[in-house]
Symmetry: D3
């Protein structure tokens, strides 16, 4: 049976830290779905959703087992519909750990078959966060080395 993992997030924007987790996750899973949570009603993204989808698809175009989707429902529910039994998650630090610990247990309550699997972000990317990158980009700073594509 194929092992399918969801890699959920808002990815505003998708960083080299995210790319690191997805590529390393390929050793574990037969298929990875990058799933961008997106609520059209209260959307307030820095990078428009369509642009982000297209940039990520481009980044992984050489990988037929990596796909990109958007969703506007519970992650646990979206995983079920896609036959994804795993959530792939990156951990950068203890703040991430405490958050993921909470989310992972609630996801299991909502979907008992859903297992959250964690990789620790590679040290050179551990300081990256989408919010810091937005801040740098907003003020005209150069973020090209922090993203796996050209914004």
């Amino acid at each position: 049976m194929k092992r399918v993992a969801l890699f959920p997030g808002s990815f505003d924007p998708f960083t080299k830290g995210h790319e690191d987790i997805v590529l390393r996750g390929l050793g574990l899973f037969d298929e990875i779905i990058i799933a961008i949570g997106h609520n059209t009603e209260k959307s307030n993204r820095y990078i428009k959703i369509d642009k982000m989808v297209s940039l990520i698809r481009d980044t992984f175009k050489a990988f037929p087992n990596i796909s990109v989707q958007t969703y506007a429902e519970l992650t646990a529910e979206f995983a079920r519909k896609n036959n994804a039994k795993f959530l792939l998650r990156g951990l950068r630090n203890t703040t991430d750990f405490e958050y993921e610990n909470s989310i992972g247990q609630v996801n299991r309550y909502l979907n008992a078959e859903l297992e959250s699997v964690f990789l620790i972000t590679s040290p050179q990317f551990a300081s990256l966060s989408s919010s810091i990158i937005r801040e740098v980009h907003r003020y005209g700073g150069d973020v090209s080395m922090l993203l796996p594509y050209k914004l």
Copy 2:
């Protein structure tokens, strides 16, 4: 002298984790006041304040020494008015600890007689947070097992 404790929070909504702390707190205190911080001007609650008060009252109707109140002032001041010498607080994880450590010291500065008392949330409830429950409920997920009442 009666030991009266305030259990303050926004409780939007009140969870099984909160219930766990209140019930265990009954062993320590003669009276517990569940105090819902509520600023009418900038209120932006998911569950309306009147509904929440009524649901919590119902939850504890068998306990004459548990009451529910709303307040719109400093917690330290509201405690003083109610002759509550203790703040009862639940700790779920290190993020909670760091936050409570700060708040507790400021509360003591504002009201030198006010002692913050902590219980560690039982493990089966440690992942619950009001914000996660709101998110699940917003998307139509089943939260009935996470709340001590029917929403």
Copy 3:
């Protein structure tokens, strides 16, 4: 019914941080038993157990509801024998929190009626640890301001 709390530890030595927790605990409990865990076989204390017992007794001689005992069994078991339904514990930082979180749950498994109650150490004592004090004393440093008695 009297609320009796055990304040367990190795207290090698008992510090001003420990004293802070005991004195603040008096607001919560009718009686506090300072319980020094002590395994005679593999004892390797810096301050001899008899001396420590006597120094702590002296420290609290004005408080008839504070007593000092030694024990060489499970804390949960010693609490049961002394009708102590509470363990009083001080939290200094997140490292303490993670440790106490584990210990507290195991103690509850061993004695379902035993509730661990936490106070956060006052900031001026939050850096004190028995091991640091031993290190300072060993090298002839002045520890008199860190202890509630004269060593």
Copy 4:
């Protein structure tokens, strides 16, 4: 290609928390090797190594894809010899996270192909540690509910 994971530890003793991680790891890996680090020269185990090996084998005797081995070399080296490309690890709390973060990066430096994969320990087992269980058992406490076998 088969996905083989090493689950390394000293397992003194192997707990229900360890069992939880191994069983959940079966969804991710085709084969799991429980690897007990064991230095014969400076061995100071509470439970003898032979007894522990036999108790764990018994625990998983229904699972042909779970095996138990001892080793006395670098974990990264032992993984290479067994064609294990993954280390399976459980995370209980932030203290575990910081430790595993360090170890995982060094293991990758020693064996660039070795990926550490983390599951968060289920909440009911998050307080279990081998050292706490040893302490309880040493004093005659009942540990039967904390272990997946009869000691």
Copy 5:
């Protein structure tokens, strides 16, 4: 060569904790620039920027090597323009540490010569945060002991 440090923040308001770091930083640096990040477009300050600048200047008027400036660009860029090779930062707790760890690495990526230097906030001020002080002040609480000036 003079060692110039930037002490950046939003300082809404500047607290006794901030003052503690600046004064202790004087031992390390020949000149300290207190730099208030301020985006005029989306400003939503509790204390107006001009008032804050003036209150901080007053606080340090006896120190010719402490100056106050506002800026609306990347901190790394503002440091470069002012020939500041150091960012001075206070650490209160582990939450601060994780945040500063991320920010510091990104700042170094943006300005390779910029070194972040940390002092740990003195314990009596470790619980102070601008957001708690705003909350207390909003409800009419007395914050005079928490600020180095009269608001």
Copy 6:
């Protein structure tokens, strides 16, 4: 006045992480004394003290303002004797932070003029610890890339 900093530790062995902190510290201090704590009576080092001193001296032989000394007294006392007003310390993670927070406050109590100054270890070295390196070396693993000298 010259700014002299002590960089204290047991350095068993001195790692590339330590080297990183010392070299970056040169921007802050006019002179850095690497101070190896060493109690001859209960010494149990993996790398002999004389060998370590000589390896570190060699590492920094191009830097006349970096020296190496051993000491067997309180760090605060040794700093005073050397007119060092600063302790230079590296922070790798939250566990380090909590430890340094305690030690720093006690050092200030022992020597009110002694300021602890922290740099966050560069990410590529954040996983290094002397104890992990000893473990790897003991089993014959290659540690040459983790040390600034040939062992």
